[in-house]
């Protein structure tokens, strides 16, 4: 789907990144300034690598060995910039149709119709306005629509939520989710927010200082050691994929089944039978040697200790194997010693249902 292998240096910053992804949504994850946006610019042809090869869906966009360097306007990438970059002198409608005009000239592939995109993104009311009259969230939706209507072979989203407040973020995230499931275009999603990555991506590429530190499927990556330093001490955790087995309307709890058992999670925005991803932060998981009785914690999962992480100050991460699914618990070194934790030891992981909020759950 997406093959990327490029080196370049831009004003003292050296980038050497290679990854390969077959996912529908590939997330480039890392801190600001790690080189994530540069990767997108290289795919779009807005920056030029010194050497390497870039291909999307088997179509080579750049290959230094073969002397191929497709010019930006012929690459058919739909680029949604962090700041939207709508053309200020055109109305929303003409912004949306801007790319389609050229796609038609170039005999573009099957048309995503204006009506469909307008409906998908909920921007019907805005068509006759100019960009200056739009809110941040509206601008981003129009920018996404504009990119879609250019019939791109790949969509590049550069932190499309970065400039938005929390309610707008949730709104756009919802639209991007619909996009992913509706429009068959591979997406490269740049973000430094694990919430967004977990909700959207299948593949995660961890970028730092212009290099790939780790890459793989989102569940593996979330549990991997490589990602941990980038999460901050409160955000680390595991991601499990689960099926919605039922919704209890009276209690507001959803019953999620996964390989390791059953999870009760409040306020899940999904229908019975759908598959969701749940991120369980390590600090929300506590451990017990015997199944506790008479406690409020709903989720008690039996598992075994798979690995004890290195101590980080007074605490450490314990990786558990819960019926094949990874769960990570962050406990104090003191407790680990007291419980005598060692690989292979059976334990019970306890997760408060209220610690798993809506932000922890996304469609798979």
């Amino acid at each position: 789907m997406l093959e990327f292998d490029a080196r370049c240096s831009l004003g003292g910053f050296a980038l050497d990144v290679a990854f390969h992804s077959e996912g529908r949504v590939t997330a480039l994850f890392g801190r600001s300034g790690a080189g994530k946006s540069t990767v997108l610019n290289l795919i779009a042809g807005l920056a030029r690598p010194s050497s390497g090869r870039i291909a999307v869906d088997g179509r080579t966009l750049y290959d230094s060995a073969a002397g191929i360097d497709v010019r930006p306007h012929l690459r058919r990438v739909g680029y949604v910039f962090q700041e939207g970059r709508l053309l200020p002198h055109l109305t929303v409608r003409r912004n949306l149709l801007y790319g389609r005009f050229f796609a038609r000239n170039g005999g573009g592939a099957s048309a995503a119709s204006l009506d469909h995109v307008v409906e998908l993104l909920g921007i019907g009311r805005l068509l006759d306005r100019r960009p200056a009259a739009l809110s941040g969230g509206e601008k981003q939706r129009v920018a996404i629509g504009r990119a879609l209507l250019a019939h791109p072979a790949v969509l590049l989203l550069d932190e499309p939520l970065a400039s938005l407040d929390a309610p707008r973020k949730a709104e756009i995230l919802y639209y991007i989710e619909r996009l992913r499931d509706d429009v068959r275009v591979p997406i490269v999603y740049v973000s430094h927010s694990l919430d967004e990555v977990v909700r959207l991506a299948d593949q995660v590429v961890l970028v730092s200082d212009g290099k790939v530190r780790a890459a793989g499927p989102v569940q593996e990556m979330a549990a991997s050691v490589a990602l941990r330093p980038y999460l901050g001490r409160h955000e680390g955790g595991a991601v499990i994929e689960a099926r919605v087995a039922g919704q209890d309307l009276e209690s507001g709890l959803a019953r999620l089944e996964f390989a390791g058992g059953v999870l009760y999670v409040p306020d899940v925005d999904a229908l019975t039978g759908e598959t969701v991803r749940v991120r369980i932060r390590a600090r929300d998981v506590s451990l017990a040697l015997a199944r506790p009785e008479g406690i409020s914690i709903l989720n008690v999962l039996p598992g075994t200790v798979a690995e004890l992480g290195a101590a980080d100050g007074s605490s450490l991460d314990v990786r558990l194997d819960v019926g094949g699914a990874p769960v990570i618990a962050r406990i104090t070194r003191h407790s680990a010693g007291r419980l005598g934790l060692a690989p292979g030891k059976p334990v019970f992981a306890m997760i408060k249902a209220v610690s798993l909020d809506r932000r922890s759950v996304g469609y798979a």
């Binding site: 807005l46 053309l87 200020p88 002198h89 790319g99 050229f102 170039g106 200056a132």
Partner: protein, 233 residues
Amino acid sequence: MWSLTPAESEALYLSLKVATWSVVASLPFAVAMAWVLSRLRFPGRGLVDAVMHLPLVLPPVVVGYFLLVLFGRRGPIGALLHDYFGITLAFRWTGAALACAVMGFPLMLRAVRQSLDAVDTGLEAAAATLGASPAWVFATVTLPLILPGILTGMLLSFARSLGEFGATITFVSNIPGETQTLPVAIYTFTQVPGGDAQALRLCILSVLLSLGALVVSEFLLRRANVRAGGRDA
């Protein structure tokens, strides 16, 4: 009293014709040169920039003299134009237009370049990713965004042309009906005993003309600014 004499209207008509043609003819060059200076980095860019601004600082007579040397019937460029294209500039109204264009060029160039420098190149990059070739990007993004600068440049150059005297009289002399624009006509009247009243009439005409140009351009500029700024017109 209020009607123009045939000689006056001839000078007025000639001035407008010369100024209009000088603006129209220099505009493409000014936009192209502004783009080169704003977007390209090459050795000698500072020198080119300085040469382009020379007419602003040189005495107009010097510019007129250079034009005469280069574009005169025997000059290297003038001979070429005459022999191969049948175009004569020296002592013709077209030469006056050339003199005005050269004198107004730095003003137009500066205005266009300033607005080009202010254009967010990210918008041009965004248009490119949407499939627009460089020429299309320029026509549909860059040009509309620098329209206010272009209008300002056209006004400045037009006003400069209406007032241009030194280079014009040096290059194309003072021929009534051919190269005698308003300032040259005013100068001529001041040289004739008893010509004061006629000179004054032409001066008032000059003031009205310049004011009119200012008003029209201000109106156009406001509209262009609204569009380029992305507000609803």
